[in-house]
């Protein structure tokens, strides 16, 4: 577990009653039911050989031109023997819907959860109630769990704020800290200890040396070494847009409905963009790396981001979980050289 991507899925051991999740869902409901959510994405990308999992997904019948994350989480679920999942059917891609159909056909117990595109509080409340009902818990128990988990989210938020303020924390460390909060490593107390230890360590470090402050917009990149590559070239990702959304740091202290309505990722592009631009401005980023997974509909948003970003945008994409390729490296280098040139002229 010493590769950068392994850090996001640093599970000690998977509980027998784990419930797989296909993206961020109201995990409070699952914890309140005495079960343990496991983010299948983290499980896939931190596996010893994630590329083998995407290959396995393809071999099982998923088309080549289908998102690697879908193929990877399909195979990861089987590899780790998780028999029950919560899948997001609204607010995520339609590939996930088909994935749930495949799982059902294989006898996996599937719960569907949709973030209402209307973003109506009452509609979301109804959906939360339905999910809670499926897990046999009352929403009030989930609300209590939210308060407990918010204490842990607050630690990730501290790391995020320290980064924003110029503390010495690497792109990868912040990424992992935020990603841990998608499922709290299926062990909230262990997750709390890990975040506390990270914070204590950060506070002992001298302030960060000057680096080019960048934001990364989009879903977590499938590259295995993107953050180190950016850092080796003199950049630093001070804003991980979607991981920050996944960690729900803006919804700390709010009830479930408010927090999951404030969670911009599953709703409209405009909701995501306004959140991203405000956070980017607050962190004074010099540029934005826009990552979109190969074959993902989110590529279409690229033009909308470029039109409103107000800072240079570099668009990157990748298909399989491999190291940064020569072409992507050239793009990154050229992107960073732009500022080097400006400083010199």
């Amino acid at each position: 577990m010493n590769t950068p991507q392994a850090a996001v899925g640093d599970y000690q051991s998977l509980p027998v009653d784990a419930v797989g999740i296909t993206t961020t869902v109201p995990v409070e409901v699952i914890f309140a039911a005495g079960r343990y959510p496991v983010d299948l994405n983290n499980l896939f990308i931190s596996a010893p050989d994630p590329a083998a999992l995407t290959a396995e997904g393809e071999a099982s019948g998923f088309p080549q031109n289908c998102c690697a994350w879908v193929k990877g989480i399909y195979a990861a679920r089987a590899l780790y023997g998780i028999s029950e999942v919560v899948g997001v059917t609204e607010g995520d891609c339609s590939d996930t819907g088909a994935l749930l159909d495949v799982w059902r056909s294989e006898g996996v117990k599937v719960h569907e959860f949709g973030f209402p595109r209307s973003r109506e509080p009452e509609e979301l409340r109804q959906r939360l109630r339905r999910l809670a009902g499926e897990f046999g818990v009352d929403l009030s128990a989930a609300e209590e769990m939210k308060q407990r988990l918010d204490e842990i989210r607050a630690l990730a938020q501290q790391a995020d704020m320290l980064m924003a303020g110029g503390a010495e924390i690497s792109s990868q460390e912040l990424f992992a800290a935020l990603m841990w909060c998608t499922d709290f490593l299926a062990a909230p107390e262990r997750c709390r200890r890990k975040l506390s230890a990270l914070l204590a360590d950060i506070k002992r470090r001298p302030p960060a040396a000057p680096r080019l402050r960048l934001a990364c917009a989009g879903v977590p990149p499938v590259f295995s070494d993107l953050w180190e590559t950016v850092e080796a070239l003199g950049g630093r990702i001070v804003l991980h847009e979607i991981p920050r959304q996944f960690a729900l740091v803006d919804g700390i202290g709010q009830n479930l409905v408010s927090a999951y309505l404030g969670y911009a990722y599953p709703y409209t592009w405009e909701a995501r963009l306004s959140n991203l631009l405000a956070a980017a401005q607050a962190r004074q980023v010099a540029g934005i790396i826009h990552y979109a997974q190969t074959f993902c509909y989110r590529h279409i948003h690229d033009r909308l981001l470029r039109a409103r970003a107000g800072v240079p945008v570099l668009t990157l994409e990748a298909d399989l979980p491999v190291k940064v390729d020569a072409r992507t490296r050239t793009r990154l280098e050229a992107f960073l050289e732009q500022w080097h040139d400006r400083r010199q002229s």
Partner: protein
């Protein structure tokens, strides 16, 4: 200012340029990159110095895919930065660049003094690059030079595929259906121009737009690109050498 060397170790061809103290090109060498870019770099370094008639270690900057393999270079820079420098040196009025090389296409919007303001590169597909034209030339048993002056064809057949391999299959189908070879060839160039034009739309393209890279030597491609973009596309001077020139200029700055 002393003599400086720029090396552009591209995917298909490797180029070297020596600039003299007055910034004149005193030597240039172009050869196939081959599979051993390290050897190509050594050869270019020695041959360019020999042609320039200079001895000793020339300050050198390397660019291109193989840039990290040029051990004689005191630093490396990306092709994007080097093209920008090179084009602005050759054409101070340049506002944007389309570069089409062996494996990729790049579009660059320029700021003051050859600074890169914005750029975009094609993705992992040869259908936007020179290697595709190589493939097409072989299929039609023509040289690349012969592709350069194809006649104007108003209604060339459509090549719809975005993949070089499938595009070749489409070409075979068109020829089998009796389409004239010249028309299919123009259609192929037009399809390539459309892909590059889509790349151009990712940045705020400005005029004058200069065309560089090995594919810029192909006049048919320049004409089709200009028609698709609806704006003049000017072939850069020393079109194949612009990145190497930019690298040599950088070697004088560092």
């Amino acid at each position: 200012m002393q003599y400086r060397l720029g090396l552009d170790l591209g995917s298909t061809t490797a180029k070297a340029v020596v600039l003299g103290p007055d910034n004149r090109i005193v030597a240039s060498v172009v050869r196939e990159s081959g599979y051993d870019l390290k050897t190509a770099a050594e050869y270019l370094w020695q041959e360019a110095a020999r042609l320039a008639g200079v001895n000793g270690d020339l300050p050198c900057v390397a660019t291109g895919y193989g840039r990290a393999l040029a051990s004689m270079a005191k630093r490396t820079a990306t092709e994007i930065t080097c093209h920008a420098r090179g084009i602005c040196f050759l054409h101070p009025d340049a506002a944007a660049i389309v570069d089409m090389g062996g494996q990729d296409a790049k579009v660059i919007r320029l700021g003051a003094a050859g600074r890169v303001e914005e750029f975009a590169m094609n993705d992992r597909c040869a259908a936007g690059a020179g290697v595709f034209l190589d493939l097409v030339a072989r299929r039609f048993q023509r040289s690349l030079a012969e592709l350069s002056h194809l006649p104007q064809v108003e209604k060339a057949p459509e090549i719809s595929s975005t993949c070089a391999v499938f595009a070749e299959t489409e070409i075979v189908g068109l020829l089998a259906s009796g389409q004239p070879a010249e028309a299919v060839l123009v259609g192929t160039h037009r399809a390539l121009a459309r892909r590059v034009a889509a790349l151009c739309r990712q940045i705020r393209l400005a005029s004058p737009l200069y065309f560089s890279g090995g594919v810029a030597l192909n006049e048919t491609m320049r004409r089709e690109l200009s028609a698709v973009l609806g704006m003049p596309v000017l072939r850069a001077e020393h079109a194949q050498l612009t990145a190497a020139i930019g690298a040599a200029l950088l070697a004088g700055e560092t």
